[in-house]
């Protein structure tokens, strides 16, 4: 009988119920007593990665703080779709002030709490990439530099979505946005620009910096919990796909989040006081095309003629990340074992270093077809 090595990945990341785990190891989302901090009724788009990320992150933070949490939110999609006056989706004390000032408002809240001796109440500042990476950057750096006791969460969907998909300092190269269109020879957003805020956060040597995606729920929750164990300035940068802004299918949100990590384009790691303390390795290398092809914001790279030169540059960036952060899969992982399991997320990609497809079980094939969906 052929020997089939089964890999049990975080089944909870795709199946929220994760009944196979002990109750205390299950995700916060699996619990009926979760806070639902961002509760239903908000006006987010179908498949919004930010709504997902915010709910995951804040429910975890609420659990870690026993509900003693206050949030300061920047202007942006999250703020707009969650508080259409007179309704609000927020089930925690929440303030929105301006676009650039989520960080200092959070600082002010925690200063007030400290003055009143209420250091049991914790504070989260949050915003999209626009409010964090660009217009709010000076304020964010100030908060880091002062080591204010605030957890700042950036939901990165790589452009100013609320205003109609314009380029931000977090927009990757070659992306089409409303003001970086691939007209003529232009590749879309130019190469050689942009900033890596997680690395900049690390340069401030704050107690905790982490990146995460909405594809790995338990990982994200763990990071929020870890952050809430610590005091001082903390930063979590969450990759959140935006179906509308990216031109991707709303059902592909989590898949895209998984792909961006597995290609190496988005390193997932943790750092404390300026030093990387852990990376989430890639399970199996995926070429960047598999990720790019699912999004119309990259469609111009696959036209006639295809811009293979640009795709190669993007691939080179991914390779560099893998090398830089040590993301490559371990030796015996993901190789061509007979009957190597494909990921239930429907990735039947052929990574560079695999010898060939292994045997696929009927179950796996069915799942792959289910999640890949109609092409």
């Amino acid at each position: 009988m052929p020997y089939q090595k089964l890999k049990m990945y975080q089944t909870g990341t795709f199946v929220v119920g994760n009944r196979l785990l002990d109750p205390d190891e299950r995700s916060v989302q699996a619990r009926t007593e979760r806070s639902n901090t961002l509760t239903s009724g908000h006006r987010a788009c179908q498949g919004c990665g930010e709504a997902l990320g915010a709910r995951y992150a804040l429910d975890a933070a609420m659990r870690a703080t026993e509900g003693k949490l206050i949030a300061a939110n920047a202007t942006g999609c999250l703020e707009v779709f969650s508080t259409p006056f007179p309704e609000s989706s927020w089930q925690l004390p929440w303030i929105h002030s301006l676009f650039a000032n989520a960080a200092p408002v959070a600082t002010g809240v925690q200063a007030a709490l400290r003055a009143k001796g209420r250091t049991d109440v914790r504070v989260v500042g949050q915003g999209g990439d626009g409010g964090t990476v660009d217009i709010g950057f000076a304020c964010l750096s100030g908060m880091f530099e002062r080591n204010d006791d605030v957890l700042y969460i950036c939901y990165d969907n790589e452009a100013y979505m609320n205003t109609g998909v314009q380029r931000s300092g977090a927009t990757p190269p070659a992306v089409r946005t409303a003001n970086t269109k691939p007209i003529g020879d232009h590749p879309g957003n130019v190469f050689g620009q942009g900033k890596n805020v997680p690395l900049i956060a690390m340069a401030h040597e704050i107690p905790y910096v982490a990146t995460a995606t909405v594809a790995e729920l338990r990982d994200l929750e763990h990071k929020v919990e870890r952050a809430m164990e610590l005091r001082g300035a903390r930063y979590i940068h969450i990759f959140v796909p935006c179906p509308l802004g990216w031109g991707s299918a709303s059902r592909d949100t989590i898949r895209l989040a998984r792909l961006v990590k597995e290609t190496g384009l988005f390193p997932v790691f943790e750092a404390e006081h300026g030093e990387v303390t852990g990376v989430s390795k890639i399970r199996r290398r995926i070429p960047v095309e598999e990720y790019l092809k699912l999004q119309r914001r990259y469609a111009h790279l696959f036209g006639d003629p295809p811009r293979t030169d640009i795709v190669e540059r993007i691939q080179a960036d991914a390779d560099r990340n893998i090398r830089r952060f040590g993301l490559q899969p371990d030796e015996d992982e993901g190789r061509d074992l007979p009957g190597a399991a494909t990921d239930a997320a429907g990735l039947d990609a052929k990574p560079h270093d695999l010898a060939g497809p292994g045997e696929e079980s009927d179950l796996m094939r069915m799942l792959a077809e289910t999640h890949r969906g109609p092409q």
Partner: protein
Amino acid sequence: MGVAEAVALCRPEVVCAYPITPQTHIVEHLSDMVRAGDLDPCEYVTVESEFSAMSVCIGASAAGARAYTATASQGLLYMAEALFNASGLGLPIVMTCANRAVGAPINIWNDHSDAMSQRDSGWIQLYAETNQEALDLHIQAFRIAEELSLPVMVCMDGFILTHAFERIDVPAQEQVDSFLPPFKPRQILDPDDPVTIGAVVGPEAFFEVKYLAHAKQIDALDLIPEIASEFSTTFGRESGGLIRSYRADDAETIVVALGSVLGTIEDVVDELREQGVKIGVVAIKSFRPFPLEEVREALCDAERVVVLEKALAVGIGGIVSANVRMALSGIHLHGYTVIAGLGGRPITKKSLHRLFADAIEDELEPLSFLDLDRERVDRELRRMRDEHRPGPHAENIVRDMGIVGSRSH
């Protein structure tokens, strides 16, 4: 020093500081007090910009803490967005504005351009004549702010007041405590009772929310004199209020002004009165809300009104005078706008004597500029017309004159 002590007596819980001339010593002194344990409990946050300073105040105030900051000039403008946000959210923050000119050209000296540029931000604006009044107004400001749920800006002339030494009486803590009770906001960020603050408000409700902000400032027209009166009872001196008249009852000519220049004006008025001139002064203490009725009543019997102001609405003329004019709608008298003291140019008794003498003879232009170097500007204007090349005016003037180095008075 006096202002810092007054603020400390009001028991602020969060103070933030970003340095800008000429407010620095106020916030430095508060920092010393916090570090020495004299001001406790108080969190002192050194922010990285004025925008951050106001934002920290917003967060702190929303979380139920009494919050304070100070700024001037460029700093006030840098937090402009946050000013509107604070007032729109109804947060009772108190801020000192150490009035200073706004660049370009960069200028660290006193005028009212900064606060005037933010007159519509929804903040209450009070102007101090003396250092004593500046101290007193801060104490009144916290009361006014917290009763109305509106932020209050206490304006005091940069350098002229902030860097002057004069006798002030600093009240006792017990007096201030009896006047200013602890801050108890109606709605705060509190996990025990979660609220959403700062929602998107669309066309169906924005108008009403904005109107209510205006209505609150109109209410302030009643509250401000009440607080001033209570202050007078508690502390034994007159301070604040909406306006103050000096020898204006039977005056044919009334001078209207804000801030420290009023002291110099009153000296000149006294001298003219000795010569039999019927001249008086109306000091505006509360610029926002603007006391239309009180100003009208104080000025309506005069033959002429001279508004002397330290700000210029480029492209039209006076700012204070436009507000005064509104108060005088329908009343016929001679109105003169005099722009003076911009960028810290001293307003001297000598110049005021000349000015008032011209005013009395109705030999003033409707809009005039006190001690402006006409020759210099005319030369530059001629040059601009002849050469048709753009360029920063200050530099051009300097180049024309070949000036190097500083000038002393």
